[in-house]
């Protein structure tokens, strides 16, 4: 076992500040904490609610559900999204399902088991209180969604169907074919549209948040750009909720939507909000590989493919033969060879990392050598073509549509891709950031998933935050309002607007020689190479240097065409990429500091003798909350304590 005793080299890039703590979570028995918090929270008289206003940015599961619920409760809500309709938020793309501790299968599931699984799945880097609440609320989410008309899969008796998902031993995942995210989002969207129609929510589509407005140390508003006219608008309210999703697009290629970005959270971070665990990203092993340098995004295929598919690469590096021409004894079924007990079903991070090693050794297949085979020949022989078709037909069709290859005849090619980001803005039990009045929900906050998210948990967390947590905790904050009215001439508002206008003017005036996308792709390469599946001290330090150079090049050589006063998609992207570059640097610093292998992250300096991930609970059982600094960021640690789940290492050998 290697140990880490040398002083942490990351300290050349950041300062260390005092530890922080979540002061909102009640103590006492874990199953009573959420009830206690709700009981002790201040309430707002229904008649007073219409005097209180809330801004909600983002209309995915968390933002859409929050805006609808708050509007229905009687608050004045202003909702914003960059898409042309709230229905298009990227929650829509989630395929698998949503967990809930209903125990409809009588298979021993319970709230406590879901809590236990989630804490362990997150590799002991999430808060127990928050995770328990998530498990508790999961039950209500299913009820709520069914009442809204979400067409979950059902059995012949008319009751809800469940499946087992993500390697857990109970069947607690509710699903709607492969489109669970879509159906849940449409449910939230319909509830939101109902409130828009009723006049309680003012919807602003094609509006992108570009700045947070702070007044007297409270979040009081946002600056947005109307993406059609280019008009810079300021909006103020008594509280601001960010539900703007994750930042996987820092890698350029990811399974995120093209527009998914960090700008809202990064702007808030620059105004003082702590960014927690930025280096925690989830990499999914079964995505369709890149086919060329024009590639704009990656598509996920369900992990269930690994149940019957066999993963292999040619034994010889640089083998250019077609798959069919490589004889059986020249193929390396490397997962089956290295992990005989689990074989092709090893956890996501192991499978992803193993594929990377094969490709690094020159054994990768397909364009650019970035792919490994996922072969169904044996399964077709064993189960018969009709059985394979019935089980995986839709996934095979999707693969054929994208690659133009027939996966029934030639093996599929897969490669890992960035899928979800567990990091995000730091929040307390109330989902309030360290900035008073700024609440963060869904993937945008650093969330309940710790260092690794379990399958079918993202949808659960987004809806838990939006429907059930925020409406209670936000009321507690609003009960002290309404706060002093802010108009457009307020110094803070004027200043925030001016900052946005200047930034846009700068983008338009650089008139360099490189496109925005070229910078984004370069950033993506750096992040993927050095801050992806496997990280090393050396690599991360190099990456920080490369990103700093890239940032400088961006601000002196980017080319943004057109003007502000129009629909200008290049300008939109420029702003997002500028923020991604800064976030990328912080991610590398965070990764450098976290000198342990934990969750989906393999730190080469922290491994067991047989090369497996080694966590360091003695040194790193804390949330890394980063405070922005012009010179360098400051790290605040929030120590994590486990009273209910015993800290243990994962084992799959």
């Amino acid at each position: 076992m290697t140990t880490t005793t040398s002083p942490n080299v990351s300290e050349q890039f950041h300062a260390i500040g005092p530890d922080i703590a979540d002061t909102k979570a009640p103590a006492g028995p874990i199953e009573k904490r959420w009830d206690d918090r709700k009981f002790n929270a201040k309430l707002v008289n229904p008649a007073n609610r219409r005097k209180l206003s809330v801004i909600v940015v983002g209309t995915g599961l968390a933002g859409g559900a929050a805006a609808a619920t708050l509007g229905e409760a009687g608050y004045q809500v202003k909702s914003f999204c960059y898409q042309d309709s709230p229905r298009r938020a990227h929650s829509i793309a989630a395929q698998g399902g949503i967990n809930a501790a209903k125990n409809y299968r009588n298979d021993g599931d319970s709230i406590y088991r879901l809590f236990d699984d989630t804490v362990k799945g997150g590799d002991f880097r999430a808060r127990e209180s928050n995770v328990y609440r998530l498990a508790q609320v999961s039950v209500n989410i299913i009820d709520q969604c069914v009442a809204q008309g979400v067409p979950f899969a059902r059995e012949y008796g008319g009751l809800l169907d469940n499946r087992s998902f993500g390697g857990v031993q109970v069947s607690r995942t509710f699903y709607a074919r492969g489109q669970t995210g879509q159906q849940l989002l449409i449910g939230a969207y319909q509830a939101l549209e109902r409130q828009i129609g009723a006049g309680t929510v003012e919807m602003n589509t094609r509006h992108e948040m570009l700045e947070l407005i702070m007044v007297d140390n409270r979040a009081r508003g946002i600056v947005v750009r109307d993406m059609v006219t280019g008009e810079i608008e300021t909006h103020t309210a008594d509280a601001v909720v960010l539900a703007t999703g994750g930042y996987g697009n820092v890698f350029f290629l990811s399974t995120n939507a093209m527009g998914s970005n960090t700008t809202a959270t990064w702007r808030a971070h620059k105004k003082g909000a702590y960014f927690a665990n930025p280096c925690y990203t989830q990499i999914h092993p079964t995505c369709i590989p890149v086919s060329g340098d024009y590639q704009s995004k990656l598509t996920l295929m369900s992990e269930s493919l690994r149940n019957d598919g066999r993963i292999w690469v040619p034994k010889k590096a640089g083998d250019e033969r077609a798959a069919a021409d490589i004889p059986e004894d020249e193929r390396d079924y490397y997962l089956e060879r290295i992990y005989p007990a689990f074989g092709n079903l090893v956890p996501r991070d192991i499978a992803s990392r193993a594929a990377k090693y094969q490709c690094d050794d020159g054994k990768g297949v397909g364009p650019g050598g970035l792919g490994v085979y996922l072969d169904f020949a044996e399964a077709i022989e064993r189960l018969g073509l009709p059985a394979v078709k019935a089980k995986y037909g839709n996934l095979f069709d999707m693969y054929a549509q994208i690659t133009g290859e027939n996966p029934y005849e030639t093996p599929m090619r897969i490669y890992p891709a960035v899928h979800y980001t567990m990091g995000g803005l730091w929040v307390d039990y109330d989902l309030q950031s360290n900035l008073t009045g700024l609440f963060v929900a869904g993937e945008a906050n650093f969330s309940e998933h710790g260092a690794n998210r379990l399958g079918a948990s993202a949808l659960m967390q987004g809806l838990a935050d939006g429907y059930f947590v925020l409406p209670n905790t936000l009321a507690n904050y609003l009960a002290d309002g309404p706060y002093e009215k802010i108009d457009d001439s307020h110094e803070a508002v004027v200043e925030a607007r001016r900052a946005v206008e200047e930034r846009i003017a700068t983008f338009l005036s650089i008139n360099g020689t490189r496109t925005v996308d070229s910078f984004h792709k370069e950033l993506g390469h750096i992040m993927w190479e050095y801050c992806g599946m496997e990280r090393t001290e050396e690599g991360l330090i190099k990456a920080i240097g490369l990103i700093r150079d890239l940032k400088q090049a961006f601000w002196s050589d980017v080319k943004v065409t057109g003007v502000n006063e129009e629909l200008n998609q290049t300008l939109e992207r420029a702003g997002r990429v500028a923020d991604f570059i800064e976030l990328g640097e912080l991610m590398c610093i965070d990764a450098l500091n976290r000198r342990e292998s934990c969750g989906g992250h393999f730190r080469a300096e922290s491994q067991t003798e047989d090369g497996e991930a080694l966590r360091h609970d003695d040194e790193f059982a804390y949330v890394s909350a980063w405070e922005f600094g012009e010179e360098r960021p400051t790290l605040h640690k929030e120590p994590l304590e486990y009273e209910y789940v015993e800290m243990k290492s994962r084992s799959y050998k």
């Binding site: 609808a68 619920t69 229905e72 898409q83 042309d84 309709s85 298009r88 938020a89 990227h90 829509i92 793309a93 209903k102 209500n140 299913i142 009820d143 709520q144 069914v146 009442a147 809204q148 008309g149 067409p151 979950f152 899969a153 059902r154 008319g158 009751l159 809800l160 709607a176 074919r177 489109q179 879509q182 449409i186 319909q190 509830a191 549209e193 109902r194 828009i196 129609g197 589509t205 059609v228 939507a257 093209m258 527009g259 060329g292 024009y294 704009s296 995004k297 996920l300 364009p367 549509q401 690659t403 133009g404 496109t515 996308d517 065409t561 057109g562 129009e566 629909l567 998609q569 290049t570």
Partner: protein
């Protein structure tokens, strides 16, 4: 492969547009159609031309943001979303005409970007089940026959892209409206508002300036999610039922 595209260019809602021709070289057949446009836009940017504006987001065929008329067909020659169309569907040397969705209710904002806000307003007029958060009963208290649940899902698969309107010779939004009526109307939870829903949504549909349905069936043929045509008959049945009860 090398191709030629003719693209509808229109500076903003007020200005007049026209078709403009561009050449795109070294197109890979594995590119998606939108990636081909990305490549063209990179070229345009570097030559100080204005890149072509088009809506897109998830690029995996589920968000419904993308959608252009390609050679006169909504989403192009394959029945899928524009983002899932690949260049292998075209021949080397092809001339490809790219235009925005055309409909009175979908005004052009710029180039290939149109305003589909009318769809949201149709949903506001009744495309929901009123279920205040927290008021829901235990999910398994109300069984739903599997057949109904499956059919409801089939209609709920609509992604609101607007291809039905673009393909309909009448610019009608009936398939979109009918899909929601069918989704919610097949579930027990959707029954209390069934009459008011169909009346409200159809009224809003007509108010937005969508055309009337003449049952030509182009909508279903163009729909990337295969929303069935009988949803429109179901809408009509519900509407006649509601009118008979004097709900209009």
């Amino acid at each position: 492969m090398n191709i030629t595209v003719r693209v509808w260019r229109q500076k903003n809602a007020e200005s007049k547009g026209k078709m403009v021709t561009y050449g795109v070289e070294n197109v890979s057949e594995d590119m998606s159609f939108l990636e081909m446009l990305d490549v063209l836009n990179e070229q345009l940017t570097l030559t100080d031309d204005d890149p072509i504006a088009f809506d897109h987001d998830c690029r995996e065929g589920i968000c419904g943001a993308c959608g252009v008329v390609i050679n006169g067909q909504a989403h192009g020659p394959q029945v899928t979303t524009t983002c899932q169309l690949h260049m292998r569907s075209f021949e080397d040397g092809a001339v490809i005409d790219i235009e925005p969705w055309r409909a009175g209710a979908f005004p052009v904002i710029k180039d290939l970007v149109v305003d589909r806000g009318a769809f949201d307003r149709i949903i506001q007029a009744g495309g929901f089940i009123s279920a205040p958060t927290g008021s829901a009963v235990e999910a398994n208290n109300i069984p739903v026959p599997k057949d109904n649940a499956d059919h409801a899902f089939e209609s709920a698969a609509c992604i609101g892209c607007g291809a039905c309107v673009a393909a309909c010779p009448n610019g009608s939004g009936m398939l979109f409206t009918a899909a929601k009526i069918t989704h919610l109307g097949l579930l027990p939870q959707g029954q209390p508002e069934r009459d008011s829903r169909v009346v409200g949504m159809v009224e809003q549909h007509d108010h937005e300036g969508f055309g009337g349905c003449t049952n030509i069936g182009e909508c279903t043929a163009a729909c990337p999610k295969g929303i069935p045509l009988d949803t429109i008959s179901r809408l009509n049945r519900d509407l006649l039922g509601a009118l008979a009860k004097g709900k209009a």
